[in-house]
């Protein structure tokens, strides 16, 4: 009888231990190799290099837009340029507000999904860069005339 009770207790304890250990495991933990982590970080760094190249242009666009808005003679060209400068500046703010580093996704996304996100951001920030440079270039002549 005693043997049966002891056996039952041992089995019960083993079951409890198994389930409690199982509960301590993080659900769906995604593993990344060192190379995958480096690839993600390296691409994010490249994205930030593009951002850093044009970020100082933001204040230039803001000031040029302000000069044109205060201009007494506003034709359609000036109005279009005001719109272009404002849109380009806002595009950079919106992008910065939304972009996230890869580490924020490592609990929920696979490597391929993170790389897909980063590639999309690379294209987005490159577009923002082109938009800002074009707005600056287009405003050069009008600003010189002010």
């Amino acid at each position: 009888m005693n043997k049966i009770v002891l056996k039952s207790l041992a089995i019960g304890l083993a079951i409890i231990c198994f389930f409690s250990c199982d509960n301590n495991q993080e659900p769906n933990k995604i593993e990344f190799s060192t190379k995958q982590l480096q690839t993600q970080d390296s691409l994010f760094k490249e994205i930030m290099v593009i951002h850093d190249e044009v970020m100082p242009l933001t204040s230039t666009l803001v000031k040029r837009k302000d000069i044109l808005e205060k201009s007494k003679q506003k034709d359609s060209l000036t109005n279009n340029l005001i719109l272009q400068l404002g849109t380009a500046e806002e595009a950079m703010w919106d992008w910065m507000y939304a972009v996230k580093p890869p580490k924020q996704f490592r609990d929920s996304l696979e490597h391929s999904q993170i790389m897909e996100y980063l590639n999309t951001e690379f294209i987005s920030v490159s577009k923002v860069k082109s938009q800002m440079l074009l707005a600056e270039e287009n405003s050069n002549q009008l600003i010189d005339n002010e």
């Binding site: 970020m55 100082p56 242009l57 204040s59 803001v62 703010w93 910065m96 580093p101």
Partner: protein
């Protein structure tokens, strides 16, 4: 007076004047191009301003009267240099936590997204003392204009590429609204030197009070 006494007298004179000069040199210079008007030397100074801080309180130049303050420009969604610069501001805050003659003033340049609530959350996460470190927002062009005022004084070449919005500079302003020192807030060694500059300015202010 014999020759040795004369030499001693001359030596004491040189010693006294060199000490005086050393004390003068120990003061931080006033930065910026000075003008001479009617024999008076005029240094560039920061104009009046009025913004709203993270508590929703009005903050103006009057908030900083009789005080020195450290300025920076940032935005809460900044992905690269702002976190480093804000940490340098935190170092400055913590180095002078009990010093009521020094305040900190951080201006957001993203007034559209950085609301008072967002500034409050940012300040909380950083560990800012809300009575010492003001995170301000306001009219966009007023912030950009005052940034130009601070930076045209503090930067050697205002025409250099790269605006204030990505400079990472910390600027020290005295109670007379003169710029007295600045540093690159992303460079810990420069921030160390900047903290010593703040100590010098506070000592100067204390001396003037006596």
């Amino acid at each position: 007076m014999n020759r040795s006494n004369l030499f001693l007298f001359f030596f004491i004179l040189v010693f006294i004047f060199s000490c005086g000069e050393a004390e003068e040199n120990n003061k931080l210079p006033i930065i910026g191009n000075k003008d001479i008007v009617n024999n008076d030397t005029i240094y560039p100074s920061i104009p009046d301003f009025k913004f709203i801080n993270q508590l929703g309180d009005s903050i103006s130049n009057a908030t900083f009267s009789d005080k020195a303050y450290v300025v920076d420009f940032f935005f809460t969604s900044c992905p690269t240099i702002c976190p480093m610069v804000s940490n340098s501001m935190l170092r400055v805050q913590n180095a002078f936590l009990s010093e009521d003659k020094l305040l900190l003033l951080a201006h957001t340049i993203d007034v559209k997204r950085d609301t008072v609530e967002r500034l409050f959350d940012y300040a909380e996460k950083l560990g800012a003392d809300h009575s010492k470190w003001h995170f301000v927002t306001g009219d966009k062009m007023e912030i950009y204009d005052i940034a130009d005022d601070y930076f045209s004084i503090a930067i050697e070449n205002p025409e250099a590429p790269g605006g204030f919005d990505h400079s990472g500079r910390l600027i020290l302003v005295d109670a007379n609204r003169h710029v007295r020192a600045f540093c690159d807030g992303t460079n810990p060694a420069e921030v160390d030197r900047f903290i010593l500059d703040i100590e010098k300015l506070l000592a100067e202010m204390q001396e003037e009070e006596l």
